[in-house]
């Protein structure tokens, strides 16, 4: 024990010594040859209200950055900054710009730093940011309910019909689950990488999406198999619900954010699209449950876990949430989905062994394809 402590101390002391020497002597600073400081500024959030434009920015400069002037639509404008002063590395500040913005039109912002560098941001469609009034929040909560919980419950209603087809119905349902999850995995990673682009470059949010997905799936696999056996039946249904739940949190956030920036023009139509899109999730969650283990209480909790997160997502999507955290949420969601793909796939292959049904049957091919096609087709409605 003493030996291992002593041997650890030495390399740690070496590292500490190296850090101390570099920080005090700065032996390689001459290589920069007096180059001007590197600057980067990311606009993380825009809020529009009766007092003007409010932008939350994150600096990523090699030295603290000073926002000296602000242009709106090619004109210099008064503004105030909170907190005042230079913005340090990866720190944020809010810029309040009294500006008579025009509803439904585009506005262009340029933030000029003390070095004269300009950082641009466009507001594609200006609309007053909702989420500040009780009725707005209630409306968004209702949207989350219809997008998340209700379609999952409707999806459960397919269960008796599928089971009435016997073994091939069950196989179809499981294959459909895998197809759907495959679609969601690709979709969630894509969403995560898209939002990661909006985060400050040095946060490497794209890497975070991949790594958090990997770590989440490994962690959930370990939790699921802590008894030494892979989860099946109701336990597996809960894991599917968790994976889909994290995905729906992200979907809720996206809906809330879209409302906030006025990108959703045909709100009712889109909520319907999302709802249809998510009915398949109910089918997927219920697929591994044996008929005898089915109970209304179980289905209620599964629906809450899978669909419920869409509600807080929709309510908070319009708030100032850093793209970094949103990207992390998508990464965790992707990891949770990957885990259930592995486990549902396991169930599928074990069934072949146990009751000698070929896993590549017509029912499973149709199910898998249906899962992907249904998700893809309903996604059109949501994306348009």
């Amino acid at each position: 024990m003493m030996l291992s402590r002593a041997s650890l101390l030495f390399p740690v002391a070496l590292i500490a010594g190296l850090v101390a020497v570099f920080l005090t002597a700065q032996p390689f600073d001459y290589l920069s040859k007096g180059a001007p400081p590197g600057e980067d500024l990311t606009v993380e959030h825009i809020r529009l209200d009766g007092t003007g434009i409010h932008a939350t920015v994150r600096a990523a400069g090699s030295e603290p950055m000073i926002i000296a002037q602000v242009q709106v639509d090619g004109a210099y404008r008064t503004f105030s900054q909170d907190p005042v002063g230079p913005i340090g590395y990866l720190e944020t500040a809010r810029l309040d710009i009294p500006y008579p913005w025009i509803a439904g039109e585009a506005h262009h912002l340029v933030f000029l730093t003390s070095t004269g560098a300009g950082f641009e941001h466009s507001i594609d469609v200006a609309i007053a940011t909702p989420g500040t009034t009780i009725s707005d929040l209630f409306g968004l909560a209702l949207v989350g309910l219809f997008v998340g919980v209700v379609p999952v419950l409707i999806g459960f209603a397919f269960y008796p019909a599928l089971m009435s087809f016997g073994e091939s119905g069950r196989q179809f349902a499981l294959a459909l689950t895998i197809g759907l999850l495959a679609f969601l995995l690709v979709d969630t990673v894509g969403e995560g990488l898209e939002v990661a682009e909006k985060a400050a470059g040095s946060l490497k949010a794209d890497l975070i999406v991949w790594l958090s997905a990997l770590l989440t799936s490994l962690t959930l696999l370990a939790i699921g198999r802590r008894g030494g056996r892979p989860p099946e039946g109701v336990a597996l249904a809960y894991f599917i619900a968790i994976g889909i739940g994290v995905h729906n949190l992200g979907e809720g956030l996206a809906i809330g954010a879209s409302f906030a920036v006025g990108e959703i023009a045909l709100a009712s139509f889109l909520v319907l699209g999302f709802a249809l899109h998510n009915v398949t999730e109910g089918v997927a969650i219920s697929a591994p449950i044996r008929r005898e283990a089915m109970s209304p209480v179980t289905l209620f909790w599964l629906a809450v876990i899978a669909g419920g997160p869409a509600i807080p997502g929709a309510m908070t999507g319009g708030l100032s949430i850093s793209p970094f955290w949103t990207a992390l949420a998508f990464g965790i969601g992707a990891g949770a989905i990957l885990q259930v793909i592995i486990e549902v796939g396991g169930v599928f292959l074990r069934r072949k062994r146990d009751i000698s049904v070929p896993w590549y049957s017509a029912a499973s091919l149709v199910g898998f394809t249906s899962g992907i096609v249904v998700m893809y087709a309903t996604a059109f409605v949501v994306r348009s």
């Binding site: 209200d49 003007g52 002037q69 090619g74 003390s114 070095t115 300009g118």
Partner: protein, 325 residues
């Protein structure tokens, strides 16, 4: 600045608000835009053997960081520590001798818009001066008018827009213009007729602070909104003459528009009769210049704006006003 009350959730009206935030340290810059307005550099005057007047000037080019807008430091190149460079003023026929030394980090020249021999043109190969070197330009002040000088080293755009330019005013010699002697004397610095005029030099320029070949700031005499925030005071009883020069880089033209009044315009200032009468807006391409003359004698006192009538330039800094008293 007091924002007006917001009118609900769809559109919002605020009074004004088109301005810069903060103040400039003119002492740190070493020049104040209000001092530049009527700061004539008439050189060191002496008499040549043949009776001709000699004017000698000292000009130094150097690298200098200039706060061109509050909080924004521009890595400029300057003549005699200011942008625009000194306003060189002479009389038609004077011999001009300019000892130009380069304390900067790149080769520079002084290219005058005027009449001179090829060897004095101030271009690469004729009067270009390397860092630490010097050169003496010598030529006759011809023709009378409102002119300019600028660096003609390459790359040209960069050498001009970094700040190497200034006005060069040649007053008419009234003895040579007997038929229009009164007009000529009113233009000739040092005469009582000239003293009653309120004369200003205004060099329309811009700054591309991020070097993307588009200007972030526009102004007259470099400092955006300087004459808007602190208006130029003029007396109603005395006429106004503006020596207007356009050196704006990257944009095809610049313009001058006066509110609530009209003016006479002398393109290039090389005539004693106006080339345009009774106008309130003129345009100039880069290098073009002219003389603007007007009077507020019959107006009520108050603030009268003048600015580029490209709204884009105006809102990016080329906005100013006279305080008529």
């Amino acid at each position: 600045m007091k924002p007006a009350a917001a009118d609900g959730q769809t559109s919002h009206a605020h009074g004004g608000g088109n301005r810069l935030v903060g103040t400039i340290d003119h002492d740190r810059n070493g020049f104040d835009p209000h001092d530049i307005l009527a700061d004539w550099d008439t050189g060191e005057v002496s008499q040549l053997a043949d009776g001709r007047r000699l004017r000698e000037y000292q000009i130094v080019a150097s690298d200098m960081e200039v706060e061109i807008a509050p909080g924004i430091l521009f890595p400029a190149w300057v003549y005699n520590g200011r942008i625009p460079g000194p306003t060189l003023r002479a009389t038609e026929g004077d011999l001009i001798r300019i000892r130009f030394s380069n304390a900067g980090s790149h080769p520079h020249t002084m290219h005058f818009h005027g009449i001179h021999p090829a060897s004095m043109d101030g271009v690469p190969g004729a009067g270009q001066v390397g860092p630490g070197e010097d050169f003496t330009y010598e030529f006759s002040a011809e023709p009378f008018g409102c002119h300019l000088y600028h660096c003609h080293s390459l790359p040209l755009k960069r050498h001009i827009h970094k700040g190497l330019y200034g006005a060069f005013i040649v007053d008419p010699d009234s003895a040579r213009h007997a038929d229009q002697e009164a007009v000529a004397r009113s233009r000739l610095l040092g005469t009582p007729e000239n003293a009653r005029w309120q004369e200003f030099v205004m060099v329309m320029n811009g700054f591309d602070t991020n070097f993307d070949d588009e200007n972030e700031f526009y102004a007259v005499n470099s400092i955006a909104f300087a004459y808007f925030d602190k208006p130029i005071r003029i007396e109603r009883s005395r006429p106004v003459r503006i020596y207007l020069v356009n050196v704006t880089e990257f944009d095809a033209i610049n313009s001058f528009h006066l509110h609530a009044n009209f003016f006479d315009y002398y393109d290039h200032g090389t005539t004693l009769t106006p080339t345009l009468k009774t106008v309130d807006t003129i345009i100039q391409c880069q290098g073009q210049r002219g003389i603007v003359e007007f009077s507020f004698a019959d107006h009520e006192p108050g603030l009268y704006m003048f600015h580029a009538h490209q709204s884009e330039f105006a809102e990016l800094g080329w906005m100013a006003q006279f305080e008529v008293v």
